[in-house]
């Protein structure tokens, strides 16, 4: 596997096609992050593509001494998502994510209800809590990486994540949800 910085240098010197290696390496985390911001699959795919295009256009401004490439890419993703969220229409039932069926119908129904509530409550979280929750829980970013992406202190990351979880747990109280 090629080193990221090597690939970036090659792209910057004109080997545009090498950018595909970066796309292939990071498409899943970026697509997953965008999908967690937007329930609409088509919209999130478009935004994820725009993220990579923006990364390509601004590749020369990436400074490896300041942060890792993934942190830089997640920062672009976050800003793209927030920009679109500001113009976003209300969520409709059709736009909720599709889920794979489970073998047990009763269990499936129970899980579906819990998952649907989690989806709704996640969508209702204020953006500053939602971003941190997504980065920590789904993207498995460390507190330090999140602090860099959000340009805030690690302590703030910790407290916002705790608050986000509290809000989710409170919203799921009637379903007797207990999440760590």
């Amino acid at each position: 596997m090629c080193d990221e910085n090597e690939i970036i240098q090659l792209v910057l010197t004109g080997y545009t096609d090498r950018f595909r290696l970066i796309v292939e390496r990071y498409q899943n985390p970026v697509r997953s992050m965008v999908r967690n911001f937007f329930s609409n699959g088509n919209l999130s795919e478009d935004i994820a593509q725009e993220v990579f295009l923006a990364a390509y256009k601004n590749l020369s401004s990436f400074d490896q001494s300041r942060c890792t490439f993934s942190t830089w890419l997640f920062t672009i993703t976050k800003y793209k998502c927030i920009n679109v969220l500001r113009k976003k229409k209300p969520i409709t039932a059709e736009s909720l994510p599709e889920r794979a069926a489970t073998p047990n119908p009763t269990e499936n129904l129970e899980n579906e209800e819990f998952h649907a509530r989690l989806d709704t409550e996640l969508d209702n979280l204020p953006i500053k809590y939602k971003t941190i929750f997504i980065l920590a829980e789904f993207q498995n970013q460390t507190y330090q990486q999140i602090a860099q992406i959000e340009a805030i202190k690690i302590g703030t990351v910790r407290s916002r994540l705790h608050r986000a979880k509290q809000m989710l747990a409170h919203a799921l109280k009637d379903l007797q949800g207990d999440i760590r």
Binding site: T16, D17, F19, R20, V23, E24, Q27, N28, R31, S32, R35, N36, E45, A48, Q49, F52, L53, Y56, K57, R99, E107, E110, N111, F114, H115, L118, E137, F138, Q139, N140, L175, Q176, G177, D178, I179, R180
Partner: protein, 89 residues
């Protein structure tokens, strides 16, 4: 399945998006389009000429412009000659 397990399953589902085999191709296509757009000059003279010649009065305009330019050129030459003869005499 308890709540924590259901929650963990939700987390796992949210963390792994469904595979899209065309994703990288689509991104690379956007990059190719961007590069092609960058290389296109701001003013394309071929397009400009095509649009101009499609105009109704394009031919008369070209002929009249040619005549005017020719006249101006002739006048400049005559004026230069006149000035030279005036200086010599």
């Amino acid at each position: 399945m308890n709540r924590q397990q259901i929650y963990d399953k939700w987390k796992q589902m949210r963390s792994s998006p469904p595979a899209d085999p065309d994703f990288a191709d689509n991104v690379m296509q956007k990059i190719t389009d961007f590069e092609a757009k960058k290389r296109t000059p701001l003013i394309n003279f071929d397009d400009l000429m095509e649009k101009f010649t499609a105009l109704r009065f394009a031919k008369p305009t070209i002929v009249v412009s040619g005549v005017i330019i020719g006249l101006i050129r002739g006048l400049i030459i005559l004026y230069t000659l006149f000035m030279q003869t005036a200086c010599v005499s």
